[in-house]
């Protein structure tokens, strides 16, 4: 049922597909989840190699965000197993998965309205270092250190928020909030960055900037990127491999060109007559 598999992607007995031919960083096997009587995901298997950029596309309601939530620990799948870098994640809470190196952005922006962009980065930096003991605060050792501030400045520059760093995010536009989310995720120096429709609500220039940032962190820092996106131009420019979901199942997988020409994908997006 899978579409064309191209490049160096390899399949295995369970249907999981790993790009780049190396040991999988993320390995999700036969993930199913039911909401009441409705199956939102049906035995989805997805594998990603370190440093690989994968696009997850599909019509609304296909199960993309649900799969994200299962991988990050916000939802527990009804069956199936997820492992990351050799660790089985099934019973692991969301914050432990984040500490292993999985960071995400959200489809509906989730920022901390009372904090500035800089504070967002500092919180992320602190969380990455696991430095949140109460006794340190009580001994006045809770202030940001110079090296932390330096890293925060780097990330603010990378996502283009240096000029707005000290404005409470409640006063920022949707586009800037998406950049804050991205910067916050990048501050955690993840090995897998999961971006959920990051271009939604952005104009063309902002979308192009965002795609550029994603490409650069993937290439320069070797960060794996899993991108859920409706903007096909952004998908084309930001990922190596595309996985197409429809009603909770993978219907195609491969390079961008092979997937957009896949008959099953065209049927899913355009209807039977396509």
């Amino acid at each position: 049922m899978f579409g064309a598999l191209t490049g160096d992607a390899t399949g295995d007995a369970t249907g999981a597909v790993t790009g780049a031919g190396s040991a999988a960083l993320l390995d999700a096997r036969e993930i199913s989840i039911h909401f009441g009587g409705i199956a939102a995901l049906k035995e989805i298997s997805l594998s990603m190699a370190p440093g690989e950029a994968v696009g997850l596309v599909g019509p609304n309601g296909a199960g993309k965000t649900t799969l994200f939530n299962c991988l990050c620990g916000q939802l527990r799948p009804s069956s199936g197993t997820v492992s990351f870098d050799g660790h089985v994640l099934d019973d692991m809470p969301a914050h432990m998965r984040a500490r292993l190196g999985i960071r995400r952005t959200f489809q509906r922006v989730e920022v901390f309205p009372e904090l500035t962009a800089r504070d967002h980065m500092i919180v992320a930096e602190r969380a990455r270092r696991g430095d949140g003991a109460l006794w340190k605060d009580l001994l006045n050792k809770g202030k940001p250190r110079p090296e932390e501030l330096r890293h925060v400045e780097e990330v603010l520059d990378l996502v283009g928020l240096a000029d707005l760093a000290d404005v409470p995010v409640a006063a920022l536009s949707l586009g800037h909030c998406r950049l804050v989310e991205l910067g916050r995720a990048l501050c955690g120096e993840p090995r897998l960055l999961m971006a959920d429709e990051p271009s939604s609500g952005l104009d063309m220039t902002e979308t192009a900037t965002l795609a550029g940032v994603l490409r650069s962190v993937q290439r320069e820092r070797g960060m794996a990127v899993l991108l859920v996106e409706h903007d096909m131009e952004m998908v084309r420019s930001a990922v190596d491999r595309v996985v197409v979901l429809e009603v909770g199942q993978i219907i195609a997988e491969g390079t961008f060109e092979s997937v957009v020409n896949d008959a099953e994908v065209r049927r899913a997006y355009l209807g039977k007559s396509a």
Partner: protein
């Protein structure tokens, strides 16, 4: 079997009272979106008026019923809607809970002002004579009061269910609760529907109050929370029904009544175990239901689809203070501190010194609320219970082990922190409204059960908490003790400030903004919540010990659950997010109480809680605190005055130095750093 029935059958009318309360809570929640803790207080007011009309004004029962339940009650509901809830339509469930807390405090306190404080014995009954046995079920006699309660409860609940399920107005009420703004976009007159819902809910409260009258031997305006047992049982039945299903609320209420009667019947009367089980059974069921009923989790998840149109949270007033005010503010602050201390230890009258010392101790307890509610966004309604635990522990250690009081305060604080952690381990499984209710259950449990034993709260007599002695310094005099309390408050303030500015404070701010995003960054929400809960309980316990040491004696009535509510209400009025808010709350609470006691008749002392309750009712509209909100407005006004002054100077300079200095750029440079949107925000 006949013994079982003789215990179970009287439980049915008893449980009907719980059921009516539960159905009222569920109905109010479904029709208005407010978890109305003041439902019992509303019931009490109507019952009181009914009693007054029948016995003082000698009106027939029917007429008194019409006036109190069908005229006064809906008017009260409409008044609450018009003056309170209409102004906070889009607030969260938790914020609206605070407003209802304000009502729960204010309504009963208002009663003695109008009706005096005399007890009213043997209130009248509504319909059939409770002293007459009408028939027997098996061998169990059924009296008129029981028939009245069961028949009216079943009829009323059936009518309300029918209205909700089959009428257009029922559908509109449900739509308005889901999203008032969406309903308005669909053409529903949401304010009118909400007003109708409040009137209906209030009629139900009035009816419950009048029906419950035969149960209460006396009506005491000074003990208006005598509906506590009903509140706990009503809450439990409403929680079993997931705040949704009216028939389940009815069944759960009756079921609770039956089980309580069976427990009281079968357990050996007079034994300590039986008393403990019967006393604590409702709390165990309530907490168990709040934690384990998955249907309740939906309450916090449902959100208004148009929530994004809400304005962003207000910044603290200090952040919008004009920089030219910084030096005068700082100088003024230090002058105030030095002046306060110097006056307190020299010329201030003794009454005021005691009130100031109490105020400093209450400020420490209020700081614990700043930590847990202001910083972490969790509404804890049991801080007075933690304060009491600290005070009783220190008192018991001093009395039985001879432990110095200051050390006792620290140990008491630690014990409170440990118990706080235990409560938190249970409570942090839930959040928002459910967390508030779990903590409220603990506060009522501590008040009614835990503090009543001789080994904890000293029973009726209480415990002695002597004044501390530190080396050669004796804090026996009020003035010396005030200085000690001041130092303790400064220490606690510094601790809270360090947490606020440190990593944990930032984590809490993140968690308050978006728990799901905070977890996705690697922040362990559970640990953060437990940490802040424990520290907050510890500070409350420490403050509670010092508070007890002011009067050198502590008893259970100083740390009742009403105090937990009052402390929260007071802090929320002044500002729960700042340390100065906590200090203003503590000092304001004690000093205003002293002034009222000194200069007004006894019946008017209830004015103070009413004042603060009014403040808390605005929480949903101004979560930063109404005092903090007013401060922000004044900051903006002062900034505007400075701006106008600068503009005039710039214009004058421009006219004397030539045109270039008067350009818009020069003007802009002369303006201080107060952003225009903030100015607009407060100018209205």
């Amino acid at each position: 079997m006949s013994q079982f029935l003789s215990y179970a059958i009287p439980g049915i009318p008893y449980g009907c009272n719980f059921a009516l309360m539960a159905v009222g809570l569920v109905l109010t929640f479904r029709a208005t979106g407010v978890f109305n803790l003041a439902f019992g207080a509303q019931a009490f007011v109507s019952a009181f008026i009914f009693d007054l009309l029948v016995r003082s004004d000698h009106l027939p029962v029917g007429v008194a019923f019409i006036v109190s339940v069908l005229v006064f009650s809906p008017l009260l509901g409409l008044g609450l809607d018009r003056f309170l809830f209409r102004h906070i339509p889009s607030a969260s469930t938790t914020a609206k809970l605070v407003s209802s807390l304000g009502l729960l405090i204010a309504i009963p306190q208002a009663l003695p002002i109008f009706f005096g404080s005399g007890e009213r014995e043997n209130p009248p009954n509504l319909w059939l004579n409770p002293n007459h046995v009408y028939f027997h079920i098996f061998t169990t006699p059924i009296n008129g009061g029981e028939v009245t309660t069961v028949v009216i409860t079943v009829v009323v609940v059936a009518a309300v269910m029918a209205m909700f399920r089959w009428t257009g107005i029922g559908l509109q009420m449900r739509a308005v609760v889901e999203s008032r703004r969406m309903a308005q976009l669909e053409g529903i007159n949401a304010p009118r529907v909400a007003a109708g819902a409040w009137a209906l809910s209030s009629v139900l409260a009035g009816l419950a109050g009048v029906l419950l009258l035969p149960l209460t031997a006396t009506l005491n305006p000074e003990d208006p929370l005598q509906f506590t047992a009903l509140l706990v049982a009503g809450l439990t039945a409403a929680a079993v029904a997931s705040m949704r299903s009216l028939p389940i609320a009815l069944a759960a209420g009756i079921g609770l009544g039956i089980v309580e009667n069976l427990l009281a019947g079968y357990l050996p009367s007079g034994s300590v175990v039986a008393q403990t089980v019967v006393l604590n059974f409702p709390f165990v069921v309530l907490v168990g239901t709040l934690l384990l009923n998955p249907g309740l989790r939906q309450l916090e998840l449902s959100s208004d689809p148009l929530a994004a149109v809400d304005p962003p949270p207000a910044p603290p007033s200090v952040s919008i203070r004009d920089r030219r005010l910084e030096v005068p503010t700082r100088v003024g602050f230090w002058l105030l501190v030095v002046g306060f201390l110097a006056s307190s230890v020299t010329w201030v009258p003794a009454d005021y010194v005691t009130a100031f010392a109490e105020g400093l101790c209450v400020s420490i307890i209020c700081l614990s609320i700043t930590l847990i509610t202001g910083m972490s966004g969790q509404l804890s309604l049991c801080q007075a219970a933690f304060a009491g635990i600290g005070a009783f522990a220190a008192g018991q250690f001093a009395e039985h082990l001879g432990l110095p009081v200051l050390l006792g305060a620290v140990v008491g604080g630690l014990i409170a922190a440990v118990i706080g952690t235990v409560v938190a381990v249970v409570a942090v499984r839930v959040s928002g409204l459910l967390l508030a209710l779990v903590t409220l259950a603990f506060a009522i449990f501590a008040d009614q059960s835990l503090f009543q034993y001789s080994w904890t709260g000293g029973g009726l007599t209480g415990v002695t908490v002597p004044r501390p002695i530190l080396g050669s310094i004796n804090f026996g005099s009020d003035r010396a003790f005030l200085v000690l309390c001041f130092v303790a408050l400064v220490l606690c303030s510094v601790l809270v400030l360090l947490v606020q500015r440190g990593t944990v404070g930032r984590y809490l701010a993140a968690m308050r903004g978006s728990p799901v995003a905070a977890a996705s960054m690697g922040i362990n929400l559970r640990t953060a919540r437990l940490t802040v809960f424990a520290m907050s309980a510890g500070i409350a316990g420490f403050g509670g010990t010092l508070f007890a040491s002011v009067l050198q004696h502590v008893s259970a009535d100083q740390f009742t659950y009403e105090y937990s509510l009052v402390f929260v209400v007071v802090v929320i009025t002044t500002g729960s997010r700042t340390i100065e808010g906590a200090i203003q709350a503590g000092m304001g609470f004690s000093v205003i109480l002293l002034l009222l006691t000194l200069y007004l008749p006894t019946r008017f002392t209830g004015i103070e809680p009413i004042l603060f309750a009014f403040g808390a009712m605005t929480y949903a509209a101004h979560p930063e605190g109404i005092v903090e909100y007013q401060k922000s407005r004044w900051m903006v006004r002062v900034s505007k005055l400075f701006n106008a002054y600068d503009e005039r100077r710039a214009r004058k300079a421009g006219s004397s130095l030539g045109q270039s200095a008067g350009t818009p750029d020069a003007l802009r440079e002369a303006l201080p750093a107060v952003s225009v949107p903030l100015g607009d925000r407060f100018s209205g």
